[in-house]
């Protein structure tokens, strides 16, 4: 983490919980830069997370109020906090398993209600902390601890899911493109509506080693390859098709 971002971190926390090559550190840095550029008042900002690797991004690292909740329930906790104190800026950050599987119902209903919440999904397409099991975002055919012959199911396209549930601001970024990501995060945080950012983040430890991407570098190269510059300066669909399209998806 750059020294300029240290003011947002608790000095008592000396180590990162993330594995080597994990994208969540880049996401964490991007989020803090977005917060810094917005000049957000951390005293009035609440970070809510669920369970899993991504839930550790705010808790215990951020020097702010953090609510580290139950698996899948972060959005529901955040809804109560925001409704009871609308002056709080409430940012939920959790993983794809947490937000889209066990917490999928809360995610779509929060999008439908359009309460002012920012939800950031650190999407590594696998269950990292529990040992690499299949997630609702794991691409079809890919290998996990619970799909050793390849995931037989279609993955969720979280952008379409949340958009379909009514969220006015939805974006997908990747940790390989941090400057665009910071822009999406800034817009999401500044939004007066429910805003969702799906962030592709490599997991070399659980995902990479099972899918012949046995180095962090190989995973980042693949993620870069999924996204090409389009004429408009944003990302065009890459080789994984529409389900990994990056960019903003406004009304």
């Amino acid at each position: 983490m750059a020294r300029s971002m240290e003011k947002y971190l608790r000095p008592e926390v000396k180590t990162t919980p993330f594995c080597p090559g994990c994208g969540h550190g880049v996401l964490m840095g991007s989020l803090l830069r977005a917060i810094d550029q917005l000049g957000l008042d951390m005293k009035n900002t609440l970070f809510v997370s669920g369970i899993g690797c991504a839930a550790w991004i705010p808790s215990p690292n951020f020097a702010a109020d953090t609510l580290h909740t139950l698996h899948g329930r972060a959005v529901a906790f955040a809804t109560g906090a925001k409704a009871a104190n609308p002056d709080l800026k409430v940012i939920v950050i959790s993983g794809d398993g947490d937000l889209a599987s066990i917490g999928g119902n809360h995610l779509i209903h929060a999008a439908r209600r359009n309460l002012e919440l920012t939800v950031i999904c650190a999407n590594n397409m696998i269950y990292g902390m529990t040992g690499g099991q299949m997630a609702p975002t794991t691409p079809q055919g890919h290998l996990t601890a619970t799909s050793v012959q390849g995931n037989p199911y279609r993955p969720f396209d979280l952008v379409k899911l949340v958009k379909g549930a009514g969220a006015p601001y939805v974006a997908r970024g990747a940790v390989t493109r941090p400057y665009e990501l910071i822009g999406y995060l800034k817009k999401a945080i500044a939004s007066p509506d429910f805003a969702f950012v799906d962030v592709l983040s490599p997991c070399p430890t659980q995902y990479g080693r099972r899918n012949k991407l046995d180095s962090a570098g190989a995973m980042y190269e693949r993620l870069r390859g999924l996204c090409q510059e389009s004429a408009e300066g944003t990302c065009a669909p890459g080789d994984a098709g529409d389900s990994l399209r990056l960019g903003e998806f406004n009304d």
Partner: protein
């Protein structure tokens, strides 16, 4: 002082109310300003009342997508400083159990009104039961304590809801109003006071929010936005909220403190009423709606020459086993009528020593009649 006398914000005087409406008015009177819930029979009128009354008072109402979301939102709201509540019935209570453990472990004040119906499972949604007594105390994993109060009248649906808030805020524990369908849907006259005592959360700036030096102590509780950089986590945590899952002695001390902060205060938490106990040979131990039938049966038995008394438990959790032990010294037998298969009977038995205990159980979706209790007393002579 956190305890203060306030003017009752709901209309004082004699009113004719249902139990569910009285519980909702009790919540408003106690200062509840957040309600998150999901409709379920026979508790829904509480939610409907809160949906009407909270917004005009500056509070917030959320109809959530399920009961898991409901209690989760209540915990989130509570940490913003709002007194917060949900209401439910059996199946909803089952769904809330994981977060009930979260609330207990993070010392979050929340009030849950459980208007019990006949279970298990969907059971009889519109019929009465009292089968949730063990579920409210033992339903979530691990060891923790809650407070549960058992009203027998619409009057107490109001007053014990206020008390549930006061205990929850003071002890930083989940507190239950453990009612039954019969009381929730009962309509009777209630005297609502002009003023009442309510407890406001104790917040001492810069004190650790999750620990204190006493092995049964209750730490002060800040809010989100107070600038305390709160770390709230369901993992084992130190007094500042930092995750600390190493060290068996540390976890042991934390779990014991959370239990002891309730158990060591039994004397001030536990309430009961005694009727005709001075010379009673047989004692009916009853709670909730069943205690109404029990009192009538006891009076009828007295007229028939039986030396019978009623011990009405108002506080169910923590369970006042010392009270049972005391009453057992002068009694020849206990009768425990319940709308379940003997959930409190076991507790009475374990405290009663050599005094025999007879259990009268009924799980048919109807209230227990005075005649049934009278007949059971007759068999005990």
């Amino acid at each position: 002082m956190p305890l203060r006398t306030v003017t009752n914000p709901v209309k004082a005087g004699s009113r004719y109310l249902s139990g569910n409406d009285a519980a909702a008015e009790g919540a408003i009177a106690a200062g509840c300003r957040y309600y998150g819930g999901y409709p379920i029979t026979p508790s829904s009128e509480i939610m409907e009342y809160m949906s009407r009354e909270l917004a005009p008072r500056g509070g917030a109402f959320m109809q959530m997508e399920d009961e898991i979301a409901s209690i989760s939102s209540v915990v989130g709201a509570s940490w913003t400083g709002s007194k917060a509540m949900t209401a439910t019935s059996g199946p909803g209570l089952s769904l809330m159990q994981e977060c009930l453990g979260y609330a207990a472990f993070t010392e979050t004040p929340v009030v849950l009104v459980d208007v019990q119906r006949a279970g298990p499972c969907t059971g009889q949604a519109t019929k009465v039961g009292a089968g949730d007594l063990m579920a409210v105390k033992w339903g979530s994993h691990g060891d923790y304590q809650v407070v549960a109060l058992s009203p027998w009248s619409v009057q107490e649906m109001f007053s014990l809801t206020v008390e549930a808030f006061n205990l929850s805020e003071r002890l930083r524990v989940p507190a239950f109003l453990l009612a039954e369908e019969a009381t929730g849907h009962l309509r009777e006259r209630v005297d609502l006071p002009e003023s009442l005592e309510i407890y406001d959360r104790d917040y001492q700036p810069h004190e650790p929010p999750f620990g204190c030096d006493e092995p049964d102590g209750i730490p002060s509780m800040p809010r989100f936005g107070d600038g305390e950089n709160l770390l709230v986590t369901g993992s084992t945590h130190d007094r500042w909220g930092y995750r600390k899952t190493e060290g068996p002695a540390f976890h042991d001390a934390l779990v014991r403190r959370l239990s002891q902060k309730v158990l060591s205060r039994k004397a001030e938490i536990c309430r009961h009423e005694g009727y005709y106990l001075d010379d009673a040979e047989l004692v009916v131990v009853a709670y909730g709606f069943t205690a109404r039938a029990a009192l009538r049966a006891v009076r009828q038995a007295r007229r028939g020459g039986l030396a019978v008394g009623l011990l009405r438990l108002i506080t169910i959790w923590p369970f006042d086993d010392e009270l049972i032990r005391r009453v057992a010294q002068g009694a020849k037998g206990f009768l425990v009528p319940e709308m379940n298969l003997g959930q409190v009977d076991g507790l009475v038995r374990s405290a009663a020593g050599d005094t025999p205990v007879k259990s009268l159980t009924q799980v048919n979706g109807s209230t227990i009649s005075p005649a049934s209790i009278l007949a059971a007393l007759g068999e005990m002579r």
